[in-house]
Symmetry: C2
Subunit: 349 residues, 2 copies
DNA sequence: TTTTCGATTGACAGCGCTGACAATTTGCAG
DNA sequence: CTGCAAATTGTCAGCGCTGTCAATCGAAAA
C-alpha cells in the first residue's frame, strides 16, 4: 500500500493540509515546514493519489489532444502528442488522446467526450481549430482550449506560424530557379492550411512577377493518392508546369510518384516541393524540398499556453513560431523546354 | 454541475449501489431495475465521475503504452496508440502514453511512472518486452503487462507474429527472382526484431539453397541513416549483393537512397526490400517491397488481452497474428551481372 | 401454508485528498 | 510590553463513488 498524505503529515509533524500545500506549490508555507514535509515524503516515497486529488479538487488534471481521425497514425499527430507530453512533464497534468470523426457530428462527439472524461483543457489539432461551430460550442460550455495552426482568430490561445509567408517563400525559391510555370496541388477543403498555402502560392507568384493561372492549380486533399491524381492532371496539360508546389509532403510525394511513373527525372524535368517536412519527405529520393514545421514544439507550446491560461487567464496567447525552408534535392533549375506535351503518355504505369 | 449517481438513484427510485451495479455491468440486477436506471441516467445525461470511481474502486482505469523515446514521433508508435485507444473504447479504461529513455535507467523510470500514475496495466512496445530486467521487476511489483512483439516468452500476455518466417519468405521472394547474393542490413542490437529477422534471413537463404556469407550482413540500427551507411558498405564490396533485405523500412529507404546516389536503378541494378510497411515505404519510388505488420491491430489486441487478464486471469494469452508480404516495385528479377565493382564510386553524392 | 435459499437490493463507511474557514503564531510598530 | 495585521498552520466536511455486508424478496421445496 502506498503512503498517504496522512502518513507524511504524521512523520513530518504537520497537518495533512500543510503537506497538501507543499505538493501543490501553494504560498504561505514556511521553509522549515516545507523541508520537513519534503523529507518525510521522500522517505515514505509518497506520491499524491491522482484520483483523490482530482475528486477533491474538482479537476481532472487532464489535457486532451483532439485530432481528425484520418490523421490517426500520422507522424504529424504523433509529434504533436510528444509535444503535449513534454508540456505535461513536471506538472500534475496528464495527456489524453481523442481521435474525432469530423465527417460525422464532431460537436456531439466532443460533448460526449468532455462529459465523460472532463478534461480541464483541450488542444485542437488542425483542422479542428478552424471549425467555428466547434469553437463556439466550447466557449458556451466554458471549456478551455488551445488551437494549433488555426486559421480563424476565434481561438484566442494557440500556436501557429506564418504558413502563408512560408508558402510564398517556397514559390519564390522555385521562381529563383528559373521556373515560370509553377503548379500547385491544393489541400483539403475546409483546412485553414489549404487557404493559407494557396494564398501564399499566389503571393509568391506575384512577388516573382508571374501570373496566376488556375489551370495549374488542382485540388488535392493532402493525401498521397490525391497527389498522384493531381500530378497526373498537371502533367497531362498541354503546357505542363516545370515545377509543382504541393500543399503538403504527402501529396508532393504522390506527384513525384506520378512523375517517375512517366519516366521523368526529378529535378531535371520537374521540380517538386512540399510542406510539413514529414519523415517520408527525407526518405524519398531525391529528398523533398519542403517547409519544416516544428510539430513537437507546437504541441508543447499549445499545451503550455492552455495550462498557463488556467493559472493566469489573460497571460496566455497565440504564439507565433518560426519555420524553416529546407531545400533538398527535389527542386532544381528549370531546363530548356522540350517539345510541348512530350511527357504525356510516357510509361504510364 | 453534472448529475451524480445519487440523482440517478433518486430519479430511478433505487439505491445508489444499484445504479453503480448497472454502470459496472455487475450481475444480480433485475431487468426492471436496470431499465429504470438506464432511463433515469439517460434523462439526466449522467456519466460516472472517473476520479470518484477510481478512488473508491482503488483502480486507475488507466492503461499505459510504454515505448522507446527515440521512437516517439514514429508512425509505428502512433499506430499502436490508435489500437490501444480502440481497445479502450466502450470500456471504462483510458490510454496513457509514456516515452521511456531505455539508454538511461528504464527500470527506475518505470517505477517512478507506476508510482505516480498507478496504471492498472502496461502495454510494452518493442523492444521493452525484450528486457528481462524490466519484466522481472514488473512481476515483482505485481504490475500487469502485455508485450508487443517480444522475443522472450517471459511475457505471458501479448501479441506478435512470426517475424522469422516473414523474413524468410522475403528472402525466398528475392531468391525466386533469381538473386543469389542477397545482403542483409541488420537491426539494432537488443531488439528481438533484429534477432528474429536475421534468423529468418538465414532460414530463407537455407531454403533457397544459398550459403550464408557474413560479408553481406552489415549492422544497422533501424534508422534511415544507418541504412545509408549500410547500403554504402554493401555496395562498396568487391562483389556486391544484387538484392538487399533490410531489417526495416527506414533502413531499406536509406539503402535505396545510397543506391540512387550512386546512379543505380532500382530494381534493375539492385533489389531492395524492407520490413514493417511504414507510410514512407509506399511513398518512395519505386515503392518498397516489404512485410506488412498490422500495428494498429497489434496495439488493440495487446490491450484487449491485458484488460481481459484483469477480469479473467488465465484467459489472456499471447496472440499470434498474421502478416502479409507486400510485393511492390523495389524488387525485381536479377540482371546479368556487369563487371565486378562497376557500381563503385559512381556519382557518389 | 411455511420454509429455504439464492437472487436482488440497500445502508453506510470510507477511498485520499482539497476547499473553506478558523486558529494560532509571528513580526513589528507603538 | 502590548496590540494588531499578516503569515502560517490546522480542522473538518465532503468530493462521488464502490466495497462490505446486512436486509429483503421471490420462487421452489417441504
Amino acid at each position: 500500500m502506498p503512503a498517504r498524505i496522512e502518513d507524511v503529515a504524521l512523520k513530518a509533524g504537520v497537518s495533512t493540509k500543510t503537506v497538501s500545500r507543499v505538493f501543490n506549490r501553494e504560498p504561505n508555507v514556511s521553509e522549515k515546514a516545507r523541508a520537513r514535509v519534503e523529507a518525510a515524503a521522500r522517505e515514505l516515497n509518497y506520491r499524491p493519489n491522482p484520483s483523490a486529488r482530482s475528486l477533491a479538487g474538482n479537476r481532472s488534471y487532464l489535457v486532451a489532444l483532439l485530432f481528425d481521425n484520418p490523421h490517426a497514425g500520422s507522424s504529424y499527430v504523433m509529434e504533436l502528442i510528444v509535444g503535449v507530453l513534454q508540456a505535461c512533464e513536471n506538472t500534475h497534468y496528464n495527456a489524453m488522446l481523442r481521435p474525432l470523426d469530423l465527417s460525422a457530428d464532431p460537436v456531439a462527439a466532443i460533448e460526449e467526450f468532455v462529459a465523460q472524461f472532463r478534461p480541464d483543457a483541450l488542444v485542437l489539432a488542425p483542422p479542428i481549430g478552424d471549425d467555428l461551430k466547434i469553437l463556439r460550442r466550447l466557449d458556451e460550455w466554458n471549456v478551455r482550449y488551445s488551437a494549433i495552426s488555426a486559421r480563424s482568430s476565434h481561438a484566442r490561445i494557440g500556436v501557429g506560424f506564418d504558413e502563408r509567408r512560408a508558402a510564398a517563400e517556397m514559390v519564390e525559391h522555385l521562381a529563383a530557379l528559373g521556373h515560370r510555370r509553377i503548379g500547385h496541388i491544393a489541400g483539403r477543403a475546409g483546412h485553414g492550411a489549404r487557404a493559407w498555402r494557396l494564398a501564399g502560392y499566389r503571393d509568391g507568384l506575384r512577388k516573382a512577377g508571374l501570373d496566376y493561372d488556375e489551370a495549374v492549380v488542382v485540388d488535392g486533399d493532402f493525401s498521397f493518392e490525391s497527389g498522384i491524381a493531381a500530378g497526373a492532371q498537371l502533367l497531362d496539360l498541354r503546357d505542363p508546369p516545370t515545377a509543382i508546389f504541393a500543399a503538403n509532403d504527402d501529396s508532393a510525394c504522390g506527384a513525384m510518384h506520378e512523375a517517375f511513373e512517366r519516366g521523368l527525372s526529378i529535378p531535371r524535368d520537374l521540380s517538386i516541393c512540399g510542406f510539413d517536412d514529414t519523415p517520408a519527405s527525407a526518405q524519398v529520393w531525391p529528398s523533398l524540398t519542403t517547409v519544416h514545421q516544428p510539430c513537437r514544439e507546437m504541441g508543447r507550446i499549445a499545451t503550455e499556453q492552455v495550462l498557463l491560461s488556467m493559472r493566469d487567464p489573460g497571460a496566455a496567447q497565440t504564439v507565433r513560431i518560426s519555420y524553416e525552408i529546407r531545400i533538398r534535392g527535389s527542386t532544381g533549375p528549370v531546363r530548356a523546354k522540350s517539345a510541348t506535351g512530350a511527357y504525356r503518355g510516357a510509361r504510364k504505369g
